[in-house]
Amino acid sequence: MEYLIHLAILFAIYVPLAVSLNLVVGYTGLLSVTHAAFYGVGAYATTLLVVNFGWGFIPALLVAMILSGLLATLFGLILSRFRDDYYALVSFGFNIIVYSILLNWESLTRGPLGIPGIPRPEIFGLTFDSNLSFLILALALALTVYLVSAGIVKSSLGRVLKGIREDEKVLAIFGYNTEVFKLVIFGLTAMMAGLAGGLFATYITFIDPSTFGLNESIFILAMIILGGMANLRGSVIGALFLILLPEILRFVGFPSDIAAQMRQVVYGALLVLLMLYRPQGLLGEYKL
């Protein structure tokens, strides 16, 4: 049971990550591979404020989200000079920069040693000590992010984001300052990723830089491609699928000496097959 709750919490942490990245990649068409950087900044900022400064969970999380958003705005200003493949490459670079800073600014982050002993969230005297209570908190926050995103997607703003994806120059002709829209959505989604980071840090109670590298960005990207671009429910399903799949493969019964490797192989092969036969993902409405 604890094991299932653990998986459910992971799912609740990845839902905001996947949903927010889908707003950027699937709706707005910006192939960002730097989402884990904002996830990491959220995790580290929350942790440092709670552990070093004794802040409460809520104010620490809010400040961490704002920091992630500001960093994204800065990155977004630079990224606005790039398109398509170059955009992806530059965003790649940002993830590596943030990862390197987390790894090497040892006086602040303790580098590769990571930061242990992060307290579980405490809100109005209520401590989310047990995994079940944490799950409820995480699900509530994930649901909030989902509903905010769904609101954006259903509004005219969602239509504008898709317009940027389809033809940014033509959209500009019709009176939209698309740079502003891109910055806003990039900053906003980075805040959502920061929120997930704060949740992750206070759930695992230990963080180190390795969680927030390129691999993680690609993992989140895989969730939304698999679930389907420009479909929020798809992102939720993608997150569920990619969290459960490695777990299910544990029970397949590979010989124990090669089990770990075989799981990776099957996992990779399944992704390739899906892209071959359903390139728009499970529920996708948009092809890259």
Binding site: I152, S155, S156, V160, G163, D167, K169, F174, V180
Partner: protein, 250 residues
């Protein structure tokens, strides 16, 4: 009175002088045909006028008081100008209806997030889509329309902007709206141009078909190699020796 004019406007691509010192004024409330052989700079000129391409030097005047040495595309609706594209540029993976709504809904982030006037927007979209016969197709992706329907959707987009900001919009630039259309669709497009003229709008029409130019335009400007080589009424401009030479060679 001028509504839109250029003064000695230039654009080079590498060593090619695509637009080479063009000074023209479009007559308000008239249809001006912009013609010339392929590569004469018609589309480039339209792109310069709409901020799609930055011009090297020269000035653009809009109305009596606005004088610009560069144009941000996103200012165009406020300047009262819009356009269509020769190579049909729609929001492909979006429904037909959304292709219209997007040009009339709020232009700022918060306004778009908390959109009001949904009924008003839908009414405009229905009206213009019915006008071009695409209302039944409103839920199709733009991508799935036929060539002619796609051209009409671009026209409808302009009409929607005209309905929404009717008093602001004064100039519409059509880049080859008739190319490749069936006769019944040509009729819809030419009716649209005449409708806009009857509303007092300034219409610029880039077109290769001389019959259409003769029939519709009040005034013709002929470009060749990025320069204006003739100007005047269709009958006058098209009979100039330089024009015939530019089209047919010596």
């Amino acid at each position: 009175m001028t509504i839109l004019r250029t003064q000695n406007i230039h654009k080079n691509f590498g060593g090619v002088k695509a637009v080479d010192g063009v000074s023209i004024a479009f007559e308000p409330g008239k249809i001006t045909g912009l013609i010339g052989p392929n590569g004469s700079g018609k589309s480039t000129l339209i792109n310069l006028l709409t901020g799609m391409t930055a011009f090297d030097n020269g000035l653009i005047y809009i109305g009596e008081h606005t004088r610009l040495d560069h144009i941000h595309p996103y200012d165009l609706p406020d300047f009262g100008i819009t356009r269509t594209f020769q190579d049909i540029r729609l929001f492909e993976q979006m429904p037909v209806l959304d292709n219209i709504l997007i040009v009339i809904t709020s232009r700022n982030v918060l306004g778009a997030l908390f959109e009001k006037h949904k009924k008003y927007h839908l009414d405009i979209a229905e009206k213009v889509l019915r006008q071009v016969g695409l209302w039944e197709k409103r839920d199709c992706l733009a991508h799935d329309l036929s060539y002619g329907q796609r051209k009409l959707l671009e026209i409808a987009r302009v009409l929607a902007l005209n309905e929404d900001g009717g008093e602001v919009l004064h100039t519409i630039l059509f880049d080859e709206p008739f190319a490749g259309l069936f006769p019944e669709m040509i009729k819809i497009v030419s009716e649209t141009l005449c409708l806009l003229r009857s509303q007092g709008k300034t219409v610029v029409l880039v077109e290769h078909n001389m019959d259409i130019i003769r029939e519709l335009s009040d005034h013709v400007i002929v470009l060749d190699s990025g320069q204006v080589i003739a100007e005047g009424t269709p009958a006058h401009a098209l009979s100039q020796a330089s024009v015939i030479e530019a089209y047919l060679g010596k």
